[in-house]
Amino acid sequence: MQDAIALETDVLVVGGGGAGMFAAIFAARHGAQVILLDKNVVGRGGATIMAQMTCASALSEAEPDCPELHLKDTLEAGRGLCKENLAALLCELSPQRIRELASWNVNWARQDNGKINQVKAPGHSRKRCVYVDFLSTGVAICAALRVQTSRNSSIRVLNSICLTDIAARDGEVVGAVGFDVATSEPVTIRTNAVILCSGGMMKMFQRTTAPNNNSGDGVGIALRAGARVIDIEFLQFYPNGHLAPRMVGLDPTTWEPTRVKLGGRLMNGKGEEFLSKYGDSGGEGYNTTRDLLTHAIYREVAAGRGSPHGGVYLSFQHIPADALNKALGPVIGIFKRNNIDLTKAPVEVFPIAHYQMGGIEVNANMESCVRGLYAAGEIVGGANGANRLSGNALPEAMVFGGRAGEAAAKFVASKAPPQWDKSTAAPQLDVIRRVKRKAKAKGPAPTHMLRELKEMMWTKVGAFRTADDLAQARDRIRAMQKSELDELSVSLETIHNASLVEWFEARNGLQAAEAVTVAALNRRESRGAHQRLDFPKTLDAFQLNQQIAFKNGEIVSSFEGARP
């Protein structure tokens, strides 16, 4: 049998989105040699590139603002569960990242006087969100970061590497293991520091905004390495998710930025406005936070007042055509290609799985409880508590990525390369070799399991949960892990075998899903994005973060204090 391809580096960054690219840049800046790898394509796969508009930053270019106010808004939206040190870091350093990106030619939308334009997004008390027109914030950020990482001689960019496990000894990272997707050959990376920037798990929902790669790999890898996750039950459902008519070529999240710019009227199937029934204070513009809006739409549809496809109507018909054109620019053409004319008819929207608030538990240096294991971006839990503000995800990626890179570089500076021998990472490599042998098996493909998991998460672990649904999901997930995962078969192909990648996605996705169902069952209250039909009130006794760990082959849970 061929040996694994052996790599070594000072700092390994797993995932090449906004968090990963900033982690690599900052690690290099602080003296480390870096490998930056991605299961797909660095700077193109992942969620950062899909970000359409808002990026929150207390720059004070549109009106007086400060990081303390941004923090206050973030804590309030987080419904009492934010880790204040992480939230404060995000708010404090976001302006620095915006300005550095400007120096890298990101063309933030400007006011007539040349200052960066900032808009007020739901839950923010100030005009705080910067953006790149039209709906190109993520595209512009990723383009700039691809240039910075590819020109940096200390950063080695590797595409199509699927990372499967961390290798640790005595509670310290010694490296990681994966395979080269292009050839199916195993890969080992000898390193003292790994930064997980692999994004969220939201692909594991049937109706989702997530890109194809966000399959919960970070949760599974971290738990198996001995790290903890917190707040994993808090998964955000984005209320204004496009539902009908069928639209391709534009992200289904497009209605929120459209509403931030233009407002829009939300109506039930009978054409009635309904938000005030659910506690929305109304007023000018679009200002309902995501958890309240998701709740209101779900309730209205459940009461039998939905639109033809089971959602609610969103209308811009009251807005003059020239105001629409000015706000939307070339996006009007994309709507037209999809037979959408906002002057003539409303669209239908319904909540859609979007973002993972919870994730790996880290300190203010982005280090987990495993020495040398860091995390940044959506995979980190705690900064946004029970509900995330629009615009806070990009700063979470960029601020935490840079902080993790800097901390990891400093950590490894004084360390010799870790000792490796044939037994180091042998169990992790065995998993890969065993899965590859499944090419001769006759079971179903991994996509078969992914499809079932996605449907189950959407129907039983969605925006509104009950003990029965959660318990059924948990038990089915455990059965799938115990006796069905190993019966799957992968394709015989060695070149770019997606089914091999999908087996590992199923392994990690199941583990992440089990963590969510267990945590959701334990949290017998409703708060932010976690809503229990059987426990509809928010209870003071649950103003605590829930930690999940993987011990002796089992998911275990405990609650801890929310105040740092």
Binding site: V41, I161, A244, D251, N338, T447, H448, E493, I495
Partner: protein, 134 residues
């Protein structure tokens, strides 16, 4: 919850004739039927095949219909287009990899920089002085 009848889409059938193989001398065309509703993209069809009749079909994508990652370019009836924008149609549609590129497998082409094209990771690692990962 009240029982309400919601509109369900009218499903149609597209026949996709897709290049399978590793290069011009080592491949063939396969035809697949895939169900779709009006407005679905070619990428929707390819993913449906991966979840159904052709689980080892090789093609590149990420953002899945948002048209931002720019990974999913293929030849559709002879014209290069992003699979996530092109719409499925009834009847026959030809799918080939983007022309004049080294084919990795099926619709997947080698998009790496010129100095790395054709070199596997193992080859790159072995051609570098030992002791350093890069």
């Amino acid at each position: 919850m009240n029982e309400v009848k919601y509109q369900t889409a009218v499903m149609k059938t597209a026949r996709l004739r897709i290049w399978r193989g590793t290069c011009a001398e080592n491949g063939h065309y396969e035809e697949y039927d895939v169900q779709f509703e009006d407005g679905d993209s070619v990428l929707d069809g390819l993913v449906r095949l991966r979840y159904g009749d052709a689980p080892d079909l090789a093609f590149q994508f990420s953002c899945f219909n948002a048209n931002v990652c720019k990974e999913c370019a293929v030849q559709i009836d002879g014209a290069v287009e992003y699979a996530c924008i092109a719409k499925l149609k009834t009847g026959l549609t030809h799918l080939d990899p983007v022309p004049d590129q080294r084919i990795l497998r099926d619709l997947l082409i080698d998009t790496r920089d010129r100095d790395r094209k054709g070199a596997t990771l193992r080859h790159q690692v072995q051609s570098i002085a030992p002791g350093k990962g890069h």
